[in-house]
Amino acid sequence: MSHVTPAPGNSRPWKARLLSHEMLLLYVLLAEWLFFYFAGTTTNRRGVVVGFGTWDRQFDILRHSCEIGLLALALTPVIITAGIDLSVGSLLGLSAILFGQLWHDAGLPIPLAIAFTLVLGALAGGLNALLITTLRLPPLIVTLGTYSLFRGLAEAITRGSVTYTDFPESFLFFGQERWLGLPTQAWIFFAVAAAVWLLMHRTTFGRSFRAIGLAPEGARYAGLPVGRRVALVYVLAGLIAALAAIIYTARLGQAKADAGTGYELFAITAVVLGGTSIFGGTGSVHGTLLGVAAIAVLKNGLACLPVVMRMNAAEEMSGLLTGALLLLALTAGVLPKMLSKLRPRRHAPAV
């Protein structure tokens, strides 16, 4: 009774902002991190501090997040235009193979091979774009087809077995060493993240992606080049997937047809966890980054917990908890709405 609904003045946006999806996710991330910092750090037999609370571990987390993080960045604009791209994981595999071939079989120098691989990745994304925009086919189905096609091509090209290895040290530097204190690939990841953030949040491109996601016909009537914008999003996804393939190859020192298997699902999970609506229109790049971080910290933190270690089940636990976190994030968005729907009816007679 004494409860007064806040007047729609200055206090509301503040509160709303502190309770926005991204902020909630940030709290979760901090809580996760602190928990693992205290529960996952120990001193080992030799008296060395080991586990989650070491810089090495933090850098590893960063290193391991780059490829899936890149794919999640690639998928954010796609999902904001109300599309989906299931083929990014397969394209990572295909690009890794193409890169290996260009370098090893065609004898191109590494920089040139990278450049060609990126172009081929963009072209593969262009195949998705072509089918989706010119024939107006549902992205889910098109990319389900290319998901199979790209992986199949990678296997067919290598006859399943050719593995490209023996990359030069200078190339492996990108995946295995540090530069200016951070894992080298993290710099690339941050650069791409910044670029995608600016694209999505500070340019007319992001604006039009949103409009297309919310009302594709409306965007067309507003004179936005809908086809070109949608195509751009898929080409960009292909390009970033190829970049992720390069980093993957540099990290493992090998290019093989099974690279990136199942990564698309992790990436989609991260994007959705980050607050991007699967129906398009809403979402943010920083949300995606938080989603990637939340999953990565969870996965790596669990692996440092003694209990989990004794169960030999870090992978399973983190998968389980990621699924649960995703469900929580989804329901968290809906439950308050459902509750507020119930509330007025319950109090109505008293008024």
Partner: protein, 502 residues
């Protein structure tokens, strides 16, 4: 009238997340009457209807059907009580056949009930015949035109043997002929003791059809009166709470040079053919015609949505190719579309974003967003067009229909067009907003814009146009000067007149 009303609503209230759509409405419907429901946009008419059909649960209030209080009305139970509704937007299943659509409404099969396809078909054919529609029961609904779909809806209501039939702006997209057909169906219903609730923004229909009228204002009922006791002016006063002059603003300047000229323009895929006309700067060229005459299709051709495949379009004497909306915008053509909720505004985006959507290139030449410039532009238009909104950041969907239309208009004015195409700019807009929009249009013409005004509201095209074209079957059949009488124009639209002078 009889003692127990067919339907009685007491103090019905309903809010949506803070919006109080209904604040306590009282309403009564008797058997054998046509009861009109009137009110401005957003007055709560549709919401009230949805409460009656069980689509919305009221927050408070009582509903009595034929003397029996009902609680927890659902669409299914409302149907069982004999309540049928024809919504503003037909709520049919586009992928299913007409027969199946009708059956889904009428048959209350258990989940394991068997579907009798041939019986469904015969029944559908019979009902369609009763409403005078020549539609095959096997046609998929997506292939039907809007009025045809409306007829299917009415057939459903008839078939349900409904005691209470609700029509929410049923004539918004009907042709004159179909409208007369509809009227006779309504009168038929009344004769058979059915209570009809009839919603329309067209006052002349209410005078032609209704027995009583209830006016809603801001979610409250402000009174119920026999229609015979009311005058148009009085009704409008009730609705708006003030006087509104229903006078169209006159032309104030002479037209200048020819801004837009079409020479035998046609587009096979959209059924538009052989159209020649000229619109001068500062002139309002009206386009009248029945629904389906192809006016929207012509507009889409001019805006590059379905590019022309024959003929020539000239802008200020120069032939131009209009292959896409981007081309059209670049040449100074703007198009305010008919379906404002789907095409005109993106409901989930802020007003400011909506207003700048067509001028990304000009406002943000480097593609870099300039929030300040955007905001001040939006504020300018909000002030100039008197858009009622809380801020430029409010989502388009939070506005009433008329204000959404103004946002849509602002988007196109921002492109600084030389030719403005308006497609049904006042459809579903209340009287107050309507006359404001008329004033804006006239003002634009005065500033030298060439305006192509498409409207199915005959008084509107007649009153606003400096010249008037009539379309029929995808082509232009006649062009009349201002001041032509309604009868002549209607006759041309129906194809009963000889070709007018061009």
């Amino acid at each position: 009238m009889s003692a127990a009303p067919l339907l009685a609503l007491r103090r019905i209230a309903k809010s949506f997340a803070g919006v109080r759509a209904l604040r306590g409405v009282d309403f009564e419907l008797h058997a054998g009457e046509v009861h009109a429901l009137l009110g401005e946009n957003g007055a709560g008419k549709s919401t009230l209807i949805k409460v009656i059909t069980g689509a919305h649960q009221p927050d408070t209030g009582e509903i009595t059907v034929a003397g029996q209080p009902v609680s927890e009305l659902t669409p299914a139970s409302a149907q069982a009580l004999g309540i049928a509704c024809i919504y503003q937007q037909p709520a049919l299943f586009p992928d299913l056949t007409v027969a199946e659509n009708i059956a889904l409404r009428l048959e209350s099969l258990g989940a394991l009930g068997r579907v009798r396809w041939s019986a469904r078909r015969t029944r559908a054919a019979e009902l369609l015949a009763r409403v005078g529609a020549t539609i095959s029961p096997d046609a998929e609904v997506r292939s039907l035109s809007m009025p045809e779909q409306q007829l299917v809806e009415i057939a459903c209501a008839l078939g349900a043997g409904a005691r209470i039939v609700i029509m929410d702006e049923p004539t918004a997209s009907l042709t004159q002929k179909e409208q007369h057909l509809l009227f006779s169906v309504v009168r038929d219903l009344r004769k058979n003791g059915v209570g009809v609730i009839y919603i329309s923004h067209r006052l002349e229909e209410i005078f032609a059809l209704a027995d009583r009228v209830t006016v809603l204002r801001d979610g409250e009922s402000v009174g119920t009166h026999p229609v015979a006791d009311m005058s148009e002016g009085a009704l409008i006063r009730y609705m708006v709470g003030r006087e509104v002059a229903q006078i169209y603003p006159p032309a104030e300047s002479a037209p200048g040079e020819v801004a837009l000229a079409l020479r035998a323009v046609g587009c096979a895929s959209s059924g538009v053919r052989d159209i020649s006309l000229e619109v001068r700067a500062g002139e309002i060229f009206g386009l009248a015609g029945l629904v389906g005459a192809g006016r929207t299709e012509l507009a889409r051709v001019l805006f590059g949505l379905t590019p022309a495949d024959t003929g020539e379009v000239l802008l200020r004497g120069q032939p131009v190719a209009l292959r896409s909306p981007q081309d059209a915008i670049a040449h100074g053509i703007a198009y305010v579309p008919e379906d404002r909720r789907r095409h005109g505004v993106v409901l989930d985006l802020p007003i400011a974003h909506n207003m700048t959507m067509a001028i990304h290139r000009r406002l943000f030449p480097t593609t870099w967003l300039r929030f300040g410039a955007e905001r001040s532009l939006a504020l300018d238009y909000i002030r100039d067009l008197a858009v009622k909104c809380s801020s430029p950041d409010a989502p388009g969907g939070s506005l009433s229909g008329g204000n959404q239309q103004k946002v849509s208009l602002a988007r196109w004015l921002a492109t600084k067009p030389r030719v403005l195409i308006l497609d049904e700019p006042t459809q579903g807009v209340d009287v107050g907003a309507k006359s404001e929009i008329h004033k804006i249009i006239r003002g634009l013409a005065k500033d030298g814009l060439a305006v192509l005004l498409i409207s199915s509201d005959l008084p509107e095209v007649l009153g606003m146009s400096d010249r008037l074209g009539v379309m029929r079957g995808g082509t232009l059949t006649a062009i009349f000067p201002a001041g032509t009488d309604a009868h002549t124009v209607m006759a041309a639209a129906l194809g009963q007149a000889e070709k007018g002078a061009a």
